[in-house]
């Protein structure tokens, strides 16, 4: 902003407020317009479409067996992947924030890998490994174990894309907190686990929950990777996001948007919790 930088920097934090009112208001206006146009309007459309034939149609499309099965599968997938990524995230963050070892920066980079790999590739990796023509395919089919085009494949693909969420959240937090408190606890005779549960966990709990929340949202919303390994069997391997697509393709717009509204309300809930957690976290830091 040229207006502010041309003034001598007096160190007054309120200097930005001296921007002319029209600058401030037009910036605020543009932000609100963009948000309404790109976020609120589409979300509203989802709801309007979902309710276009009334509450009755909305409710009955949400209680169809295939829709319920999709919700069940989505919940199951999240219930398996979220705890696993949480455990992994905490251990990885601990290792990276507390210890120095060779290959540490490599490990940090690898954790970010799922962020940079396209989800479709993530799905294909598992098809290549576990598919009938893949590395383990023949062995798996001999032992009648289904991975791809079944629930385990969906869980694996989701695990891949949600892998970094908790760790990414915790690493900077734990590095910032440092380890003085833990060293004090240890020197006072606490065991490793006691230190973790009584000292470390309370310190990182809001950040941890925040990571878990984001991870959960992604686990329930993932489309690309899951689509590749799902096989799209109705009522069996369709997760909620896939079910939205299937319903839409079957001209069942109420059904598609009703399922989409469930996912959207999940997103809104996530946002509310996220805001709450951020507020809590800042409160804790002040204390």
């Amino acid at each position: 902003m040229h207006v502010t930088s041309s003034k001598p920097l007096s160190g007054n934090p309120g200097v930005a407020l001296t921007d002319p009112a029209w600058v401030r208001w037009s910036l605020v206006g543009v932000s609100i317009a963009v948000i309404s146009l790109f976020l609120i309007l589409p979300l509203a459309t989802v709801l309007i479409e979902a309710l276009s034939k009334g509450w009755q149609a909305y409710a009955s499309s949400l209680t169809l067996p295939d829709t319920l099965a999709a919700m069940r599968l989505t919940l199951l997938t999240a219930a398996i992947t979220v705890p696993l990524t949480t455990v992994f995230g905490v251990s990885a963050a601990w290792a990276i924030a507390r210890f120095d070892f060779r290959g540490k920066s490599l490990l940090t980079t690898l954790i970010d890998l799922p962020f940079s790999v396209s989800p479709v590739i993530a799905g294909l990796i598992y098809v290549l490994i576990f598919g009938a023509k893949g590395w383990f395919g023949p062995w798996l089919s001999e032992h009648d174990i289904k991975v791809i085009f079944a629930v385990p494949g969906i869980v694996l693909a989701t695990l891949f894309v949600t892998f970094p969420f908790v760790a990414r959240e915790l690493i900077p937090l734990m590095q910032e907190i440092g380890h003085e408190e833990e060293e004090a606890a240890l020197s006072l005779g606490a065991s490793g686990w006691q230190t973790f549960f009584k000292v470390t966990l309370p310190n990182i709990k809001w950040g941890l929950l925040y990571g878990v929340l984001l991870c959960n949202a992604r686990a329930m919303g993932e489309f690309g990777a899951v689509s590749v390994v799902s096989g799209h069997i109705r009522g069996l391997t369709n997760t909620l996001p896939l079910h939205v697509e299937v319903s839409y393709n079957e001209y069942d717009f109420v059904g598609a948007f009703a399922s989409a509204s469930v996912l959207a309300s999940l997103a809104v809930l996530t946002l509310i919790f996220k805001t709450l957690l951020e507020w809590k976290q800042s409160q804790d830091r002040k204390a």
């Binding site: 069940r72 023509k133 079957e250």
Partner: protein, 334 residues
């Protein structure tokens, strides 16, 4: 505390899941291509009832739909289909060849070359046909936007492409001229979806394109779903006979203990009930005498190019047109 909550949610999730799969009834998986969704939804209901009346056994039929090529790939990669009902015999040949799940002469096992129904390719245009599209050469004109799925992933799109090619050979006299002609058409294609249904939504919902080349049954279904007010079907004087065969996936069906069920399921397609439903859902039945005469009236008479007659079968087509760097790759350079 958080640990307990996590544990509880895992248990809850498992319980919810278990409750969904606790029924021990036999389940048949039918892996099919895109536009058959509505037909098989109706047919499965009839078959389940028929099987219950006949044997007293409650069975369940599951469906998986997508672009035909993609579905073929999935079965080869291990999607456990008891039966496949695909868009073209070339795809089913691929499964026999690459995965060896049933004999290579599968097409001889069921009546009418394993074709309980067939279809053809027509045009869907916007109301009033503003670009005056009547025949295949109209698709190559400047300023006409054509919607078709990707022949690499969609069976329907292969028929679209081949029909245009056959028209090109007949009209312009040589393979080279046909290639130029098809190339011109694909210059008019703004986007290639992976399956027929995706292209339908592109044309209808997103409002792209002047003409959609699609299955006859898909065009009728689109008219039915969206009302005849905004679109109309144009049938070219000559199109291609789309042979959409079915077969039992022997090895998988045997492994799942479903062989008798799978065979009965496909046989049932040829019965009056199956044939009537096929015609009702805009497929041309193998036994028109079983169909409702009113339904049959919707199918206009036209001349057909054929896969075997004009192209020498799918194996040749695959090599000449759709393998890497074959005709299609040379024609379509996005």
């Amino acid at each position: 505390m958080p640990k307990k909550i996590i544990l509880k949610s895992i248990l809850l999730g498992l319980a919810l899941f278990a409750s969904g799969s606790a029924f021990a009834e036999r389940t048949l998986l039918n892996v099919s291509y895109d536009p058959t969704r509505e037909f098989y939804q109706a047919f499965n209901k009839e078959f389940i009832q028929y099987w219950k009346d006949k044997t007293g056994e409650e069975v369940n039929v599951q469906q998986s739909h997508g672009g035909g090529g993609k579905q073929t790939r999935a079965v080869i990669d291990g999607l456990e289909a008891d039966v496949v009902t695909l868009a073209l015999s070339g795809d089913i040949d691929q499964i026999a060849e690459r995965a060896g799940l049933f004999p290579k002469d599968w097409q001889k096992r069921l009546p009418n070359n394993s074709l309980p129904y067939t279809s053809t390719i027509v045009f869907l245009v916007r109301k009033g046909n503003p670009k005056a599209i009547k025949n295949w050469d109209d698709l190559a004109k400047d300023g006409v936007a054509v919607i078709t799925p990707n022949p690499k992933t969609s069976g329907g799109a292969r028929y679209n492409y081949l029909a245009a090619w056959a028209f090109g050979v007949k009209t312009y006299g040589s393979q080279d001229a046909a290639k130029e002609f098809v190339k011109k058409i694909f210059k008019n294609v703004p986007v290639l979806d992976s399956g027929a249904r995706g292209s339908t939504t592109t044309f209808i919902q997103r409002g792209m394109g002047d003409v959609l080349i699609t299955w006859e049954n898909e065009a009728f279904l689109a008219l039915k779903e969206y009302g005849a007010g905004d679109f109309e079907i144009v049938v070219p004087p000559t199109s291609i006979k789309a042979e959409t065969p079915v077969t039992v996936v022997d090895k998988i069906a045997k492994k799942n203990g479903n062989l008798d069920l799978a065979e009965a399921y496909l046989q049932y397609l040829y019965t009056p009930v199956g044939q009537k439903l096929a015609a009702k859902h805009f497929y041309r039945p193998a036994h028109p005498e079983f169909a409702d005469p009113e339904d049959l009236k919707r199918f206009p008479k036209l001349d057909f190019y054929t896969i075997d007659g004009d192209f020498g079968g799918w194996a040749t087509i695959q090599k000449v047109h759709f393998d890497d760097d074959a005709h299609f790759d040379q024609i379509y350079t996005p």
